[in-house]
Symmetry: C2
Subunit: 467 residues, 2 copies
Amino acid sequence: MTAALEPVLKRIDEDFDNSVARLCELLRIKSIGTDPAYDEETRRAAQWCADQFKEMGFDSAVRNTPGQPMVVAHYTPPDATDRTPRVMYYGHYDVQPPDPLELWDSDPFEPTIVEAEHGKRIVARGANDDKGQFMTFVSAFRAWTDVHGSLPVKIIVFLEGEEESASPSLEPFLEANQEELAADICIVSDSEAWSIETPAITYMLRGMVFIDVTLKGPAMDLHSGMYGGGVVNPNNALARILGELHDENGLIQIPGMYDDVRELSEAEAKAWENLGFDDAGFLGGIGLKESTGEKGRTLLQRLWSRPTCDVNGMWGGYIGQGAKTVIPAEAHAKISCRLVPDQDPEKIYNGLVKFLKDRTPPDCTWEIECHGKNPAIRVPTESPYLEAALKGLRATFDNPPVLIGCGGSIPVVGSFQRILGFDSLLAGFGLEDDRIHSPNEKFELKCYHNGIRSQAAMMHSLAELAQ
Amino acid sequence: MTAALEPVLKRIDEDFDNSVARLCELLRIKSIGTDPAYDEETRRAAQWCADQFKEMGFDSAVRNTPGQPMVVAHYTPPDATDRTPRVMYYGHYDVQPPDPLELWDSDPFEPTIVEAEHGKRIVARGANDDKGQFMTFVSAFRAWTDVHGSLPVKIIVFLEGEEESASPSLEPFLEANQEELAADICIVSDSEAWSIETPAITYMLRGMVFIDVTLKGPAMDLHSGMYGGGVVNPNNALARILGELHDENGLIQIPGMYDDVRELSEAEAKAWENLGFDDAGFLGGIGLKESTGEKGRTLLQRLWSRPTCDVNGMWGGYIGQGAKTVIPAEAHAKISCRLVPDQDPEKIYNGLVKFLKDRTPPDCTWEIECHGKNPAIRVPTESPYLEAALKGLRATFDNPPVLIGCGGSIPVVGSFQRILGFDSLLAGFGLEDDRIHSPNEKFELKCYHNGIRSQAAMMHSLAELAQ
């Protein structure tokens, strides 16, 4: 089958200028999905995408939701069998607002080609996130159909227009269209490569439990002179409790927190070590010198494979200018735990609540509200789809691809797994310095080009699974 | 000299209706000192007070300041000697704004006589705080001069119009007029009796150190997914440090905190026990059942004679609705220590700073701002002025007077001591339920009447010190 890929890669190289031109056409559409003033432009971007797939013979449509529309496009090869893999391709056509405009060197919606250290780059809002990223598979589809007249796998393209607005319509849409959206694997193009020379697939994502707590003490705010020393101060009490969340070694004291945490295999630990992650550079970028946290773990392990417990917000009493001698009636905190593979969010939530309730000060009560409970995600390293994707990346880059973790959650991946039941492979081609969400967002043409080639090669490897 | 007092008390009783009428006249003046719209009324109240003293032969004047004016009135008895005590009388003629107006049963500036459990009461803004309170000594002066044609002690009346606005002009005025305001003792009429039957002198006031702290970590707010577990979270770190301010027994862990704390004498401890303070009632009023704090101390001891460390405010990270997974660049707290007699505010401030700095997390720095350092105040129980005041109260109440503490600070008392060098006796006649600062503020006529009699009797006892 390598014979099938070679001419496609050649076609991609020859047609690259047109691929850039098509991306620029899309970048000119101001699809700021979060701003109703741009609703018309946002829908125009959806239609532009749907038309691309229609041109290539997909059954493609703009699908309405209560928010921004979805683009769903289906393709079945003429020679498909039951063994032909069904591959979903995910991306989003909405972009972040471009503000502050004055910090842009050029019009954010007039894509500009600029020469820099890695050669040419496109500067525009959405150049990377996510128009440039998902246009890698759109361009790969086009090259493949140009050469072969058809595509080698069953495809569902799924593009949303609310990714930058927390995707309110996504899950209802998935629930309502489960059968139609059935697939074996999803390729998500919305993440970073390890470097411009080294492609990466993100195979681990942390999950999260997020709660909002209020510790209620006296019936009203009190004067700290009249009452101080004799009654509970919810600020002091809450601080004490939050301070007990970790022990001296950085281990989280929530009951059951480590019961189910999956330890890295020796091979994984070794592979992560071999990534040569630049701890000092990572910390220096945020003004720090030392990694803190769980003792006896590397920084990457702390970030990717160990659970956390962060106080994301806390407040109580007087927080204005100057002095006010108040003992507040209540104190508040927002607490989140990042979860790692095999941890049960429900169990961690219950443990967190127990941790708090076990420490309830005299005369106090808790109000606890949960804002989310999502498990971590881990694509099994023995997955044939993962192996196929890696094979595709090996075919198009000199450096071998790396498997990496991600400390954050990518909600769509959890939604696909929970509602549709398949894993996602995060194969992105952006760079860390692409300034997504910031002025002068850019995408290296080299990344775009390698991305298109990689998408073709991955599709080819996935098709081979049918044999 | 008791012969001198008897006819004065008789005169006070006979003239009481006029004393009420004069108080009502003052209550009708809308001296809302904090609101510039009432500046003219506020000045009219000052003038009204100054005129009262002028009528009784004082050298009395309204004295301008950058804010509301002071009223200063001097009196020297014709037969005064060097041994005649110099007594300052302090009060304030400004009142709190009456809002919310709809919660008043009558016009706040049209004093209304209402019959209730203790007999008649006056309902009006300022009925207690502080017009009713200071009119006790004004009426006592009047009765005394009516009967004897002169007064028995040297007097400086000092009334301010900014007490409800944190007294910005007070200290500069005291500094600028130190010689003129020299006295031996001050009688402050701005506090509460122990009960309607039992008069009280407040002889202990706690002091305070108040600081504002910022714990600074990363150079910017971070995403808790990308960075959580690997870097310091100033919220968690600050909570941990604040949580260490007290040990399991409620003892404050600031270095040197208890070095100089004066223990109560056995006699004082016994006297406080004998007060029969209603712990359950005090706590029930604020929705609590248990007193917490330093182990092995009574509630009154915790409130009056033990130092505290309260977090009056804390904040960091996201404090709005819903979830935001941020690791904040910094976290903040406002921390105050109430101080008790013999503690040095400078030493406690230094100890608090050391406590924080000793716990500085890696890569973090502190910003610390001090909003005030004031020592506690304690009038020596062997003071002849205190003894004289108690004697006066014994002469006018059936129940013996009690000596009490106060957990708060009364800044003017500290200012008098620091700038003018004399102690203050807080002999007030209000009740806890007088609703000062609230709608339907009231003053029991019985309290007013006993207050006038007590002021006459205390003045008589103070005069006896000259013999």
